[in-house]
């Protein structure tokens, strides 16, 4: 089966500093892969390369087999990649209501109005925001804004959803609730997702697999259990130990 996302030998530099160093990664269709790593490890750069906002110096990006970027060349621009993204700051367009936030991408893709309205209504109901479409994002609570952001991504029925630490600023209770919603939404729609996080608990709760990134390279991939059973390096062991020390059980929020 062709991988939904395939990064092969990606190298990226920002002003002489090597941010990604021959990174390779695949995400199968319908799979949720959590990309786990500390700050500065290159997680967000992976997302930017996938979205087409950065072009790798070397290596190739394939989306469902189509080469989107290849060694310094951007072959498919961001708006044609068929991806959706949830940023850490959510990036809800402040001048558009909730419904218009959701409609924007559908209009860009030329989805006819009746279908558009139906899809928006359905996804809003699904995330518990039925009847809230007229509200501006500025009037929503933190949790509601998160739901709008994920709904805005999923309503496009994208090739894959990329999530860039969307829950990092929330309290544990809200995080647990939203992780549950995210997981159900992604699984029931069989949506491919790449979830970027520095939090092992989030990675364990959402990811089918976890890829650990260190200094621009994926150093270990596998399920949470396999990582715990057989950490490949002191770095991975350290990540696991941090959570053990904090008295939390990874994967069980």
């Amino acid at each position: 089966m062709t991988a939904a996302i395939d990064l092969e030998g990606i190298t990226l530099r920002y002003s002489q500093r090597r941010v990604l160093d021959g990174l390779s990664l695949t995400v199968e269709p319908g799979e949720v892969l959590a990309l786990l790593g500390p700050s500065g490890s290159g997680k967000t750069s992976v997302l930017r390369i996938l979205l087409g906002f950065a072009t790798p110096e070397a290596g190739a990006v394939r989306l469902s087999g189509e080469v989107a970027s290849d060694a310094g060349r951007l072959l498919v621009p961001p708006e044609e990649r068929g991806l959706a993204v949830v940023f850490q700051d959510l990036a809800l367009w402040p001048h558009l209501s909730v419904a218009r936030n959701l409609a924007f991408g559908l209009q860009s893709k030329g989805v006819p109005r009746p279908e558009r309205d139906a899809r928006i209504q359905a996804i809003l109901e699904r995330v518990g925001l039925g009847g809230q479409g007229h509200r501006p994002p500025g009037q929503l609570s933190g949790g509601e804004r998160q739901r709008v952001a994920i709904a805005r991504a999923l309503v496009l029925e994208p090739r894959a959803v990329l999530l860039d630490e969307p829950l990092s600023n929330l309290d544990v209770g809200l995080k647990r609730e939203l992780l549950s919603i995210f997981r159900h939404l992604l699984k029931e729609r069989r949506t491919t997702a790449l979830y970027v996080t520095h939090d092992l608990r989030e990675a364990g709760a959402l990811g089918d697999r976890i890829a650990v990134i260190e200094q621009g390279r994926v150093v270990q991939e596998g399920t949470l259990e396999s990582l715990r059973a057989n950490p490949s390096s002191s770095f991975v062991r350290g990540l696991l130990d941090d959570f053990a020390w904090a008295g939390t059980v990874p994967g069980n929020f």
């Binding site: 621009p77 993204v85 924007f104």
Partner: protein
């Protein structure tokens, strides 16, 4: 086959949408400013040795040195007044600082010679407070420096105040924990505003070196007046005018290089839009003295307007206004609004591009800066060289030439206003739209414009006011019978009834005030959050 080629072509064009939109905006900047400057060089070459001979005389060079020295003196005085006043207004508990700022800033939105006219009504020989001594002082280089310093110091004040209002509060608060207000002001706040201060100084220098109305009115011989004299009147010699602008070109390039070196990317971060909500630094015992000094400066700047209004009222100037004013206000307003709209559109594309580091946008921004810092006669003469030819005579003889000239000179206002607000908005808003499938044009209209509407509208308003106050470029090429209001006032000043001239000046000030008030009222309250 043809259908497939058409599809491929459409796809290629769609993919290059941003580049094409940028190219269109860039074409406007290049056509209005770069082409005239380039054309000027070839005209100078064509003018031949005879015309260039004017540069072999000593007098033009002495005039140039005098102009540069006067501009330097005005810049130094404006910075000396504006920097502390900007700090006091933005970050201290100075009484009535909002009103003070408005009163102090207003004169900078007027053609400077209007204020010189006001000073003449006040301290000229027959002025309300005038005598032989004050008259002699006014009609001298000292008078010129004083008038222009008071006129342009609000540029420095406002830019410094905006920069300090936009500054991260924590920088100041971290220092206030262990340092007094004086130390915080001089060691933290003013140094933080240094790039803005440098930009303000460059703007004041450029405005002064371009200034034509005030030196001509106060009978101080300066270099731009020598260029102007050769484009009309008894000294008519256009070839020599082309030759005379030659030394001004390196000066403009020097200012551009200075702007790039001293200010760089910091020049975009001048328009903080956070308001005065932060707790001000208490002035303590210094408050009464500093308040007196600050209000004195603001009142002094506005006094000439009071003098003009009094002169107009006492001499029946307002009653005679209708028969003298003609179409000039409508020409001014109409061309200013059209040019400002073009400037805002160009500013949206190039300002966004420059702030987001889009290839080519910085170069076009530099071109716009060059057009602004280029002494006005250079740009004016260049525009004449490009547009005053049979093929474009219809445009040249209409109000369109004013729109072209304004757009050339003030495009930078729109670019910088938009760039400063785009830098303050999250890039993710645009990236999320791109990821959702929106191409550049759609992102520009549906996301970038609404999110940055306040900055675009502020840029538009500022551009309208800059166009309204323009005299020094428009006077060189205004169409016959279609002069804007500042040009009409200046031409009437020589032989019109003084009360009517004063009334026209007051009418201009009122028109500007109305535009500003309407603009501020209509400006979106704040960017959506």
């Amino acid at each position: 086959m043809a259908e497939a080629v058409g599809r491929a072509l459409k796809r290629a064009l769609l993919r290059r949408q941003q580049m094409l939109v940028l190219a269109a905006a860039g074409a406007i900047v290049l056509l209005t400013s770069a082409v005239p400057l380039a054309r000027l060089l070839s005209e100078i070459f064509d003018a031949g040795a005879a015309a260039l001979g004017v540069l072999s005389a000593v007098r033009p060079w002495l005039l140039l040195i005098r102009s540069v020295m006067l501009a330097a003196a005005v810049t130094a005085c404006a910075v000396a007044i504006g920097a502390p006043l900007g700090l006091l207004i933005a970050r201290t508990d100075l009484p009535g600082r909002r009103a003070l700022w408005m009163l102090h800033a207003f004169p900078m939105f007027l053609p400077p010679f209007l204020l010189a006219l006001g000073w003449f009504q006040l301290v000229g020989r027959e002025g309300f407070l005038g005598s032989e001594v004050t008259d002699r002082l006014l009609f001298s280089q000292v008078g010129l420096v004083a008038v222009l310093s008071l006129t342009f110091s609000p540029v420095v004040t406002s830019m410094v105040a905006l920069a300090l209002l936009g500054m991260d509060a924590s920088l100041e608060e971290a220092a206030r924990v262990f340092a007094g207000p004086w130390r915080v002001g001089t060691r933290i706040l003013l140094p933080a505003a240094r790039p803005t201060l440098a930009l303000a100084a460059i703007v004041v220098f450029a405005l002064t070196i371009s200034e034509l109305g005030v030196p001509m009115f106060l009978r101080v011989d300066v270099f731009p007046a020598a260029v102007f004299a050769r484009l009309g009147g008894i000294q008519y010699a256009p070839g020599e005018a082309f030759a005379l602008v030659l030394p001004l070109m390196p000066l403009a390039l020097g200012l551009l290089l200075l702007e790039r070196r001293l200010v760089g990317a910091g020049s975009f971060a001048v328009a903080g839009l956070r308001g005065m909500s932060r707790a001000p630094i208490p002035l303590g015992n210094w408050r009464p003295a500093l308040a007196t000094a600050s209000w004195s400066v603001a009142v002094a700047g506005a006094l000439p307007l009071v003098a003009l209004a009094l002169r107009a009222a006492r001499g029946g100037g307002f009653g005679n206004l209708p028969q003298w004013i003609g179409q000039a206000p409508w020409t001014s307003l109409g061309t200013a609004v059209i040019a400002a709209t073009a400037i805002a559109a160009v500013g949206l594309v190039l300002g966004h591009g420059a702030a987001r580091g889009v290839r080519g946008a910085s170069l076009l921004d530099a071109m716009a800066v060059l057009a602004f810092v280029t002494p006005a006669p250079v740009l004016g003469v260049g525009l004449i060289a490009v547009w005053n030819r049979p093929a474009t005579r219809a445009l040249y003889a209409s109000a369109a030439i004013l729109v072209i000239g304004y757009t050339a000179r003030y495009a930078v206002v729109g670019i910088r206003a938009v760039a400063s607000v785009v830098l303050q908005s999250a890039v993710h808003l645009e990236e999320a739209a791109a990821a959702a499938g929106a191409r550049f044009w759609r992102r520009l209209i549906r996301i970038i414009l609404p999110v940055n509407l306040r900055g675009v509208a502020a840029g538009w308003l500022l551009a309208v006011v800059f166009c309204l106050r323009d005299f020094e470029t428009a006077v060189l090429y205004y169409p016959p019978g279609g002069e804007p209001l500042p040009v009409r006032i200046f031409t009437l000043e020589a032989n019109g009834p003084p009360p009517v001239v004063a009334a026209l000046a007051v009418a201009h000030a009122l028109m500007t005030a109305l535009v500003l008030v309407a603009g501020v009222l209509l400006l979106p309250r704040r960017s959506p959050e």
